[in-house]
Symmetry: C2
Subunit: 397 residues, 2 copies
Amino acid sequence: METELPTIFSAKRTSFVRTSVIREILKLTVENSNILSFAGGLPNPDLFPKDVFSSVMESVVRENISTAFQYGDSSGYEALRTQIAEKLTDVSWVSSRSITITHGSQQGLDILGKIFMDSDTNVLLEDPVYLGALQAFSPYHPNFFSVPMEPDGPNLYWLEEILSQNKIHVFYANPSYQNPSTYTWSLEKRIKIANLLDTKEIILIEDEAYRYLDFEGKVYPSVSSFRKRNDLTFVLGSFSKILSPGFRLGWVVVPDLYRNLFTAVKQGNDLNSNQFSQVVVSKLLKTMDFDVHLHSIQSFYKGQKESLVSLLGKYLPEVKFSLPEGGMFLWVEYPKGTSKELMEHCLKNGVAMVPGTEFSPASRSSSFFRMNFSFLTKDVMEIGVKRIADVYRDINT
Amino acid sequence: METELPTIFSAKRTSFVRTSVIREILKLTVENSNILSFAGGLPNPDLFPKDVFSSVMESVVRENISTAFQYGDSSGYEALRTQIAEKLTDVSWVSSRSITITHGSQQGLDILGKIFMDSDTNVLLEDPVYLGALQAFSPYHPNFFSVPMEPDGPNLYWLEEILSQNKIHVFYANPSYQNPSTYTWSLEKRIKIANLLDTKEIILIEDEAYRYLDFEGKVYPSVSSFRKRNDLTFVLGSFSKILSPGFRLGWVVVPDLYRNLFTAVKQGNDLNSNQFSQVVVSKLLKTMDFDVHLHSIQSFYKGQKESLVSLLGKYLPEVKFSLPEGGMFLWVEYPKGTSKELMEHCLKNGVAMVPGTEFSPASRSSSFFRMNFSFLTKDVMEIGVKRIADVYRDINT
C-alpha cells in the first residue's frame, strides 16, 4: 500500500515526507467503483446548497468581476476576513486583520510548520493524530512527542509528565470531534490545558476544522479563547466541512506578533488564496441562512452516525468504539487480528476503511480503524458492514 | 517601504523569508486610489471572457456538482491535466500523468524549492530574476548564483564560467518575456543552453508563465523541449495571464522520476488544488475559442506597449529600454539618481513603479524600474508618465 519514494537527487527534508494511504485508497475507490468506502472524509454532496451556489456565482460574475477574477491581498479578501472574524471565531482579540485566508486549513498547517519547525523544535501531537498534520510538519523535521488521548481529551497525567520533562515549543491539537478519533475535549480539560500552556509558554496550533459538526448543534469554546497568552495561540478553521471542499478555503487566526511573517510566508507559498472562491464564499455567507444550513448538516450526520452504530451493533457486536458527540467518523477497535491483514482482506472483498496506524505519530501498529459515515447511504453502509463482518469472521476463525 | 519582521520565536529559515515591495505597493494603491500604478502585474480585466464565464459556471453547478465541490486528486483534475498535456506543453514525453495542477505557478516554485533546496544546494538564477522565485526559494536557504542577462538570454560567457567553476544543481529560468525584464531567449540560446544543462546534469526549473504573451502570436519552443535529460527538467505554466488570476491555477510538468515525491509534497502543502476552479477552467477551455481569445490578449497588450513606449519617448526621452517581443512590462533604465529616491518621490507624487533592486538576486541597487503597461488606459498612462517626468526632472536639476 505504501508509495515508495525513489532515491533521487533531492533536499534532505524529502526523506521525511509522508505519503497518505487515505489518498491512495481514495484513488482505488475512484478507479474501482465496486469498492464501498468508509475511508474518505468526504462531506455528503447532497448537503451542498446547490440553488444558492448557482445564484451567487451568477451574481459574482455580474457584479464582482474585477475583484473576483484578479490577484488579491495575500492575507485574503477583506469582506470574507471580516465575516470570519465576526461569525466564525471566538477569541476575544480577533479582528479581520488577525485572519489570513488559506487554501484549506491544511495550508495553514504547512505555513505554521515552515514558521516554527526546525530540527530543534519540540512538537507535541495528540495520539492518534490528524494525518494531514503529520504530512505538513514532517518535512520540516521537528522532534515529535505525543500524548495519549481519552474520549474527553488528552490524558492529563501524561500531558503534565511530558511538559515537565521536556521543553515543548508547539502543541498541535484538534480538540473538537478530532479526525480520526472524534474525541472532543471537555470544557474542564480545555480550561486546564489553556492554563498549563500559558504557564509553560507553549505555542498552541488549534485545529478547529470540525468545530461546527456537533450532532446537537453545540459549539465548544476554543482552547485558545481561555488563553491569556494571545501571542502564542493560532486557530485554524475551514469551509470544507460546512460549505464545500471544492472552494479549498480555510483560515488561520494569527496573533499580531506573527502577522507579517505569516503573510510573507503565504506570499512565497502561492501569492494569495483563490480570489474567485473567496468572493463566492463571502456572498454565500451573506445570502444563505447559515444557521439553518448548519443545522441540516448536523442532523443529517447525526442520522448517518446512528445508522452506522446500529449496523455495527447488528453485524459486528465484538468491535468497540465510544459514541462521538459530532464529526464524520467512528474510531473503531477490531480486537482480533492485525489491522494490516484486515485492511488487505477488506479491499479484496470490496470495502475500504483506514487503518489506525496511519494516525499514529510513531507509526505503531494499531487495532483501530477510522470509519467514515458521512458519505454512504444507509443501505450501502449495510452492504459494506456485512462485507467487513465476513472478512473479520474469516480471519478470526 | 520594507516590512520589518520582528524577532520572535521561529524556525531558523524564517530569517531568510523575503517580503515583497510589489505587494506593499499594491496595497498602497488599493488604499489610495490617487496613485496611478505601473507597479502591478495585473492582467487587464476587460480581457476576461465574462460571457463564457457566466455560462460555464452555471453549467458546472448544474452538471458537475459532485466533482466540482468535492475534494479531488492531489495531482489535479484529470480532464484538465489532459487538456494541458495536449494543448499547453511542448515537451515530447508529456502525458496527463506528468502534469500536477498547482495553486498558481508560484506554488510550483515553492514545491520545487522544498524538494530540491537545502543549504548545500547551488541554485543559479537569472539577474534580474522573478521576485516570486526569490520569495519561494529563500526560506529553503540554498546558495544562490546568478548569471547576467541580455535581451536575447543569459550571457553565455558568464554562464559557462559559472558552470565550469561551480557544481550548479538547479537553474531557475524564465526564458519567455521574463518578469521583470521581458527579455526572451533566442532559439539559438535555448538549444545551446539545453545542451549545456544536459552535459552538466543540471536540473532546469523553466518558468513559462508568460509563454503565450508574444505580441505577434509567436510561441517559442521551451528550453526543456531541447533537453535529452527528460528526468532533469520541470516546466511551469499558469492560467493567470491567459484566463484569469482569480482561478489561482497553474501547473508543473514533472518528470516520471519525481512524480510521487512531487504529489506527496503537494498533499502536505494543501491536499489538492481548488477543484471547483479546475472544473470551470477545464470547461472554459472546451467551450471557448482559445486561439481567438489569446489573439485578443496579444494584440491588446501590443497596443498598450506601443502607447507606453511612445509616451516615454515624448516625456522621458532620456530613459532607456529594449523593445520587448511580448509580456506585460517595460524594463526601463533611469540613468540619473538612485532608484530608491526616485521611487519615494514618485509615490509622493501619486505614481508607482517597482524599483529594480527588488529583482536583484543580491539586492544590489539598480537604476532600472519595472513598468507595467497591461492595466492602465492610455490616457491614465499619459498622466502617470508626466508625473514620473516631473519627479525625475526635479531630482535631476
